[in-house]
Amino acid sequence: MDTTSSAPSFTPSVEVVAAGAAPAVHLSGLTKHFGSVRAVDGLDLVVQPGEVVAFLGPNGAGKTSTIDVLLGLSQPTGGTVSICGTTPRAAVANGWVSAVMQTGGLLKDLTVGETVELTASLFPRTQPVDVVLRRAGIADIADRRVAKCSGGQQQRLRFAMALLPDPRLLVLDEPTTGMDVEGRRAFWAAIRDDAGRGRTVLFATHYLEEADAYADRIVLVAGGRVVADGTAAEVKALSTGRTVRATWPGVRPEDLAAVPGVDDVQVTGDTVLVRASDSDAVARFLLTRSPARDVEITSRGLEDAFIALTTPTTTTATTTTTTTEDAR
């Protein structure tokens, strides 16, 4: 499903950008294998300057592997990677891309201020230390040892460090994992305030609500591929669709293609499973113009839709798996 071209909410920010500017992120056919495991399996992604993109997917979807590649921390197995029109390593060296990692990356015996000062000394040119401390909301704890900071404070420290080179692209890998509600809110307030200045932001998350609240565009990944790509509103609309199930011996997916509002058709034996935004139209079609029987309409919860979209096998298989796991 590619809804990128029709997505209105992020198109304006693309137009603001001067013509010919290189995409902030351009991944094409990206693969990353670890032995026989295909962590990333043919992933395509283009992020234009100024976009705030959520990289959404369950654990093990390939989010971190993709981020490692686009930051130059690991080499892709195949495909091409271009960050701000150059290689990841060159983009890092130029201070064009920086990242807030999930955990680690801090020295416990340093203070907050010293950590930022040290990081600043590694770049040829940076924003002043006090400016980034203030912008990350940690100016008041500059003298505190990192070991004594809460998870949320440490995360805002990582954010301050990432702001130092004034990067074009800011990458956040599951930035709020392990934070309490208050810390999460303060962290996102700082990010949102910063993104308002026109910075490109790509953040990985497995929280649907977080993607919904803070991104212009959601890229849903599963099994190392992009399975959905659209605005928050569009993905939300997808999530609130309904499923129509019916028994129809000899059914082919093409039989339902003409029905309005059909998003996806899956056939398993004599059973057809239709995901649709207009379930009434599908039911009417099935009952009046087809030999189908046993028609069931079920509404899909937010989480159901997320699981359905991000599971590489068929929807039927997903349901079975979920049921089995619940039964244990």
Binding site: L71, L73, A99, G104, D109, L110, E117, R125, G198
Partner: protein, 254 residues
């Protein structure tokens, strides 16, 4: 897009091999770590009080003073080198890879930090010797102190290599006993004359032997200087090569 962002005039940093800010903060960080301070300062001082002050002659006290100066310096240098293990375990090395920092700058800063920190136990030991009646010609103090300090840099490379080899937060707990063994075989705790001839031969191939002989040489006028120099150079080459090899393996694996 960058034009919409404010880019205030920041600080320009020359791309020198050594990063003074990193050096200053790294040294401060080491001295802030209580465990490191205990191992590099408190323990050698305690050893000197236990085994050095009780010596009968001022010359013997000076001998013990230089021994424990070497010991303190080698522990200090190893600690700083081995701190890369903590930095790797804690993801700091990975964080550094998101900056333009060059590996050569990182390693050079570590080695210089080790040298700076190693000055402290040597200075403390010489001062302590002076106030507890160690007697030696001025030349023996100066040359002995400087060689104890410089020779300990072999152990900065040793610490680095071990830091890349052992993926642990507790590298120094492993290396502490190893260093004590090296110090023993290097004749720093007991003069080598007390060892059997066979053990003396074996000892002369261990990493602390060369530094120990060189630091004591001006005081005692004895010891095979050439052999000691060969020992120091050989171990430096071994540890630097091991560090380089393990460093390369580390950055490839990520």
């Amino acid at each position: 897009m960058t034009t919409t962002l404010q880019r205030p005039a920041g600080t320009e940093v020359p791309r020198a091999v050594l990063n003074p800010t990193y050096l200053r903060l790294d040294v401060r960080r080491v001295l802030r770590n209580r465990r490191t301070v205990v191992f590099t300062l408190v323990m050698p001082v305690a050893f000197y009080f236990a085994f050095g002050v009780s010596q009968e002659t001022g010359a013997d006290r000076a001998y013990a003073m230089l021994s424990f100066a070497v010991y303190g310096a080698m522990v200090a240098a190893t600690s700083v080198g081995a701190s890369v293990a903590v930095e790797r375990a804690g993801g700091w090395s990975r964080q550094l890879r998101l900056t333009p920092l060059r590996p050569v700058t990182y390693v050079a800063t570590k080695v210089v930090a080790a040298a700076v920190v190693a000055v402290v136990p040597v200075a403390v030991q010489l001062l302590l010797g002076a106030v507890t009646g160690a007697r030696a010609p001025v030349r023996a103090w100066v040359v002995g102190g400087v060689l104890a300090w410089l020779g300990s840099l072999v152990f900065a490379a040793f610490g680095l290599a071990m830091g890349y080899l052992l993926p642990s937060e507790n590298t120094m707990q492993v290396l502490g006993p190893v260093l004590a063994l090296f110090a023993m075989l290097g004749g720093l705790f007991v003069p080598l004359d007390f060892f059997s001839p066979t053990l003396q031969t074996v000892a002369s191939f261990t990493p602390a032997y060369g530094v120990g002989v060189l630091a004591h040489h001006v005081l005692t006028g004895s010891g095979a200087v050439l052999g000691a120099v060969v020992n120091v150079v050989a171990w430096t080459v071994v540890f630097v090569a091991a560090s380089a090899l393990l460093f390369r393996r580390d950055t490839q694996r990520v």
